[in-house]
């Protein structure tokens, strides 16, 4: 685990955070660049998704099928809105609730699975779900997906602020839960040694369950906001490739079990992804290479180096 406090004094950590938040609130809308706003909106949505993947890692649950929750919520939002004519906000709330309940239910079959078995179980789930939504095309629109979801707003700035606010609220909640609540000590103990933790009285599966419910609920929040923002959802949102691959890359590039790292990783990957769009035929390769380079050159993720850099800057500014 990366202990943010030990890397930065708390105050400089808070100062950096505050400065970043102010910049994100003020600068992008002022630039009046719709494409930049679009990229940052997507980045914020993926940041929620990436943090939701990361919270599971706090109790050793490597979800290689995390797109399942994202896609499930995206489709639920779409169906609630288009078939049941629910207001998009209600559709989002209902979709998140459903995803959380599904996460709760999944804790039963996944109760005994560990390590690679857990990861592959999740991947299998996402695969089956993707095949299912593709197959039931009369409800889900098959490959084409569902179009015409009512957006929360059509305003670029408005969408950006909705995504940013949701992201920040998720970040604060998840970061507090993982790093500063009474759970954080238990999470770290469970991560180091589940059996030893059990023998000291820790009911390990409770904490795994807590992380699974949070992980699925926030993945659902990301997926639901994603659906109302893009107003369309197709099987890609649920598919391991690209969506799970994307979230795992974001998490690992950003720095696993830090919450903030995966959020930063999400913005970075979305930027890289759009940057390489200029060379469509080598896009995947270029993007994969860059991600691999980051993983190799900055082990532990960019968060570690970002904090060092921020500390250095603040020290320079102060002196």
């Amino acid at each position: 685990m990366l202990r943010l406090k030990s890397l930065a004094t708390l105050s400089s950590f808070k100062i950096t955070g505050l400065i970043l938040i102010i910049i994100m609130v003020v600068v992008p809308p002022a630039l009046r660049d719709p494409y930049l706003l679009h990229i940052l909106t997507l980045g914020s949505i993926y940041a929620i998704f990436a943090m939701s993947w990361d919270i599971l890692m706090y109790t050793n649950q490597l979800s290689l099928g995390h797109s399942f929750f994202f896609g499930l919520a995206a489709y639920s939002t779409a169906l609630f809105n288009s078939s049941l004519r629910m207001h998009p906000i209600l559709a989002i709330i209902a979709a998140v609730a459903i995803t959380a309940i599904v996460g709760l239910g999944l804790s039963i079959p996944f109760f005994k699975l560990r390590g690679a078995y857990y990861a592959l179980g999740m991947a299998g789930l996402a695969k089956i779900a993707t095949l299912t939504v593709t197959a039931y095309s009369d409800i889900t629109g098959g490959e084409e997906g569902i179009r015409g979801i009512t957006p929360l707003t059509t305003d670029h700035v408005g969408n950006y602020y909705i995504a940013l606010a949701t992201m920040l609220a998720s970040l604060i909640f998840l970061y507090y839960t993982a790093e500063h609540s009474r759970f954080s000590l238990i999470f770290r103990a469970v991560r180091d040694d589940e059996v030893a933790a059990k023998c000291l009285g820790i009911v390990v599966h409770k904490y795994r369950l807590l992380c699974l419910v949070l992980g699925s609920a926030f993945a659902g929040l990301g997926g639901a906001v994603y659906a109302t923002y893009l107003t369309i959802v197709n099987p890609n949102a649920m598919a391991i490739i690209p969506t799970t691959a994307l979230v795992v890359t974001m998490g690992m590039v950003g720095g696993v079990t830090t919450i903030i790292g995966p959020a930063l990783g999400a913005y970075l990957i979305v930027f890289l992804d759009s940057f390489f769009r200029v060379a469509e035929n080598i896009r995947l390769l270029a993007y994969a290479l860059t991600a691999t380079l980051i993983l190799l050159l900055l082990p532990g993720g960019i968060i570690r180096y970002a904090i060092k850099a921020a500390n250095y800057l603040i020290r320079e500014v102060r002196s």
Binding site: L185, A189, D192, D193, A196, C199, L200, G201
Partner: protein, 243 residues
């Protein structure tokens, strides 16, 4: 009424019978040694009692309650704690945090100040006070072995099961740890202690059980045990002898 009753338990892993009908009783306040050659099933016996594994047959009674099928996190709340032969610290937690996990685990309802007092007491008793802020992964084996005991004690258990606490330590470290065991015994804890050889138990206990190939083959004082023909034979072919 004994504190712990082990009644004819057996355990196999795949086709391998590791524990074959073991029975014994532990009275409150006893300090009992369990010895046996490598692979005799000593650690498995602790795993069965502490709920890490469950026996295929037989039963285990603790304080008049059948605990055979209970899970470790429930057993520790009933007053039964263990340490690990191969140390299992939470490597990325400090010494102090390692101990606090046990407090959370058993759900102490005491006030914060009482809990802190208890923490200091345990750190003091186990000689870890100066190392409280250190990450477990940076500690030498001697300290980790004491941390094993400290965490088990922190659960507030009545019955401590220590799996080869002295193994791999230097003579002076063993002395310190033996003293700690004596102190814990003197303040009323019941202790089961596994050792590979009987030597370190000579001064600690008057009752030793010998496990060999999953069976209890002998019970007696350390002196009786080390002179017993069957016990000596059980250790034949090992690099170490029973003494």
């Amino acid at each position: 009424m004994p504190l712990l009753e082990v009644r004819n338990i057996s355990k196999s892993f795949g086709g391998l019978k590791v524990i074959k009908g073991v029975s014994f009783n532990v009275d409150k306040g006893e300090l009992i040694g369990i010895i046996g050659p490598n692979g005799a099933g000593k650690s498995t016996l602790f795993n069965l009692i502490s709920g890490v594994y469950h026996p295929d047959a037989g039963s285990i009674i603790f304080k008049d309650e059948d605990i055979t099928k209970m899970e470790p996190y429930d057993l520790v709340k009933k007053g039964l704690a263990r340490s690990w032969q191969i140390v299992r610290p939470f490597r990325n937690l400090t010494v102090e945090e390692n101990i606090r996990v046990a407090f959370y685990g058993v759900g102490f309802k005491d006030s914060l100040s009482e809990r802190n007092r208890r923490l200091d007491e345990i750190l003091q008793m186990t000689g870890l006070l100066q190392h409280r802020e250190q990450l477990a992964k940076n500690l030498p084996l001697g300290h980790l072995k004491r941390l094993e005991v400290a965490r088990a004690v922190a659960t507030g258990a009545e019955l401590l099961m220590l799996d080869e606490p002295f193994a791999g330590l230097r003579v002076d470290e063993i002395k310190g740890l033996m003293h700690l065991v004596t102190v814990l015994h003197s303040i009323g804890l019941t202790i089961l202690i596994i050792e590979h050889v009987v030597r370190s138990l000579l001064e600690l206990t008057r009752r030793v059980l010998v496990l060999h190939e999953g069976r209890l083959i002998k019970e007696g004082t350390p002196e009786e045990v080390r002179r017993d023909k069957m016990v000596i034979e059980a250790y034949l072919g090992e690099e170490s002898e029973v003494a």
